[in-house]
């Protein structure tokens, strides 16, 4: 009997651990939603902050966030996908591949503040791009690179080798096989990886604060500076001014992240149905 009692207690503890984790998530989301919903209005989304208390809206920060992450996505996607194609299809295991993987793992674990200082030193100062969308996007793309590389490589590797053989067997070259069969078959998972990486970039603060600055500005050109939503939230919260705007910003951020997650999930699910 003793054995069974221990079993029940232990399983109860595991239930508790999982429910705690999820409970915290639920509390966090509920808190942000309940407090933020009151601040939301068309004016809040589509107008600029005014005055010292940042009354009005947060439109410029939304534009800056979408701008910089969109740009980063455009920069990182071809590089990361080609890199993954190399690792999964072309490379033979060896020192070179080992080095590339170690570098990618390192890049994935570089603290974002270090990435921020790196962006400041290289893009903002050494290359003279200043606090700008392009500096921010370049720094963010280094952050996104290992994530997209890994998910793409896994996606490519999950395409059965039989399918590749079918293509080679018809007289296709390696690149024809990769481009016409392997990448299309892997594309839902690749897109999912890109979306999740972009979601991470949207939530990033320490990188963008040092590469695109904190100036409230609606960016038009890649060389324009701007303040991201995360930086805006940080400043509002730390200075304790206009808490309702902070809640509203937090809610919009969470909504964007949630949106990215649901989109990724939707793509995976739809694909699973289609592939049978």
């Amino acid at each position: 009997m003793n054995k069974r009692v221990t079993n029940w207690i232990a399983l109860g503890a595991l239930w508790a651990a999982a429910l705690t984790t999820v409970g915290v998530l639920g509390t966090l989301l509920l808190y942000v939603i309940i407090n933020g919903i009151g601040a939301l209005s068309l004016r809040f989304v589509f107008s600029a902050p005014e005055g010292v208390r940042m009354e009005g809206g947060i439109w410029p920060t939304i534009v800056a966030t979408v701008y910089v992450t969109g740009l980063a996505m455009l920069i990182v996607t071809p590089i990361a996908v080609f890199a993954a194609v190399y690792l999964a299809e072309y490379a033979r295991q060896g020192r070179l591949v080992g080095t590339i993987r170690f570098a990618a793992d390192t890049l994935a674990s570089v603290p974002s503040i270090v990435m921020g200082l790196f962006g400041l030193a290289l893009f903002v100062e050494a290359l003279g791009l200043g606090f700008s969308m392009i500096s921010g996007a370049l720094a963010l793309s280094f952050l996104m690179l290992p994530i997209v590389m890994r998910t793409t490589e896994e996606a490519i590797r999950s395409v059965p080798k039989y399918i590749r053989w079918g293509s080679y067997g018809l007289g296709a070259t390696k690149w024809q096989t990769v481009r016409k069969v392997v990448l299309p078959a892997a594309s839902p998972r690749i897109i999912t990886g890109i979306i999740l990486a972009t979601g991470r970039a949207v939530g990033e603060t320490a990188v963008v604060i040092f590469t695109m600055g904190t100036m409230i500005n609606t960016p038009m050109l890649p060389l324009d500076p701007g303040r991201s939503m995360t930086v805006h939230l940080y400043i509002l919260a730390m200075e304790g001014i206009n808490l309702p705007a902070a809640y509203g910003t937090a809610l919009l951020l969470v909504a964007m992240i949630l949106g990215f997650n649901l989109l990724a999930r939707f793509i995976v699910r739809r694909n699973r149905r289609m592939m049978g």
Binding site: N7, P78, Y86, A91, V110, K174, V254
Partner: protein
């Protein structure tokens, strides 16, 4: 019996230009030069893209290092790392209080967060029904996606006042940092631990049940030991995440560059000091901040190397 030995490698690139199928038999074609060039230049392009990751690490090392190394030369490695006074405006560049702060908040967060995360991972992998799992797992993944500034905001507005009531201070300090950071590292540790558990062969579970073990006995006598390397990896990577975390910690620890007298006293970490001081630092002060970034970078690199050598070790044993 002619037969020269040939090394057979990749199919090798090359297909000649368009040909209508069905043109029947004929001589075997040689690999066309244009096609060969096309395939090998594509290969070179892909290799170049893969090298961007290596280049990125090198550039970070170079540019952060270039800006920061001078502080080690000027202050001396030992005085920089273990000096107890951080008064950069007066030329005192001892970052010991910051290193202490970084490790203190990280270790506490690990002690709280790792059991929670490993428990969650075991639950998802071994206990939860597929239905429960299909709800909880996305939730844990979502937790990983929440921006750290939101965690910080929540900690600042909700958690801090509660801690303040209990401790009598302002609520900025280690306890608040531990709680927030513990939650933030749960998804990292849990995801990797769960992968490790799920990659175990189903056979060992059945073998254990067949000997009359309960579920819990199977978990802690068979499964957790078998997935040990993966779980340790997970904790190390969680540690990396915690030590590098910036915004969430920044918003709840009060930021005073001293070794705190108690668990609800303000303190600073390497990351938070960089963010706060960077806004106005110049000269040696700025160099010192980059020097701290070098240290953070090295720590994260060491942790990655540790994980890699561990998994290599794990492969040899298991």
């Amino acid at each position: 019996m002619a037969g020269s030995e040939r090394d057979m490698r990749d199919a090798g690139p090359g297909a000649p230009g368009p040909r209508e199928p069905g043109s029947g038999s004929g001589v075997l074609r040689q690999t066309a030069r244009s096609q060969y060039l096309k395939e090998s230049s594509l290969r070179a392009l892909f290799l170049a893209c893969a090298s961007v990751a290596v280049m990125g690490v090198a550039l970070i090392f170079l540019f952060v290092g270039l800006r920061g190394w001078a502080i080690f030369a000027k202050v001396g490695v030992v005085d920089f790392l273990f000096g107890s006074t951080w008064l950069p405006t007066e030329g005192e560049f001892g970052i010991w209080p910051l290193i202490f702060g970084s490790f203190a908040v990280t270790i506490g967060a690990l002690l709280l967060g790792a059991p929670l995360a490993i428990g969650t991972a075991i639950f998802l992998s071994e206990v939860a029904s597929p239905r429960v799992r299909s709800i909880l797992r996305p939730a844990v993944e979502l937790l990983a996606g929440i921006p750290s500034v939101i965690y910080g905001f929540f900690g600042l507005i909700v958690l801090r006042p509660i801690i303040a009531d209990m401790s009598g201070g302002l609520g900025f300090g280690l306890v608040t940092g531990w709680l927030i950071l513990a939650i933030m590292i749960v998804p990292t540790i849990s995801a990797i631990s769960e992968d490790a558990l799920r990659s175990l062969s189903p056979g060992i579970r059945e073998a254990s049940y067949a000997m009359g073990a309960t579920k819990w006995q199977t978990i802690y006598k068979v499964l957790v030991p078998a997935a040990k390397v993966g779980i340790i990896d997970a904790v190390i990577l969680g540690m990396g995440r915690a030590i590098g975390e910036t915004m969430a910690v920044l918003m709840v620890i009060g930021n005073a560059p001293v070794v705190p007298a108690g668990v609800s006293e303000p303190f600073s970490t390497l990351t938070t000091t960089i963010v706060l001081d960077m806004a106005y630092a110049s000269g040696d002060h700025r160099t010192a901040l980059f020097g701290m970034a070098i240290i953070l970078f090295l720590i994260s690199m060491v942790l990655v190397a540790l994980v890699r050598s561990l998994s290599r070790f794990g492969k040899q044993v298991g």
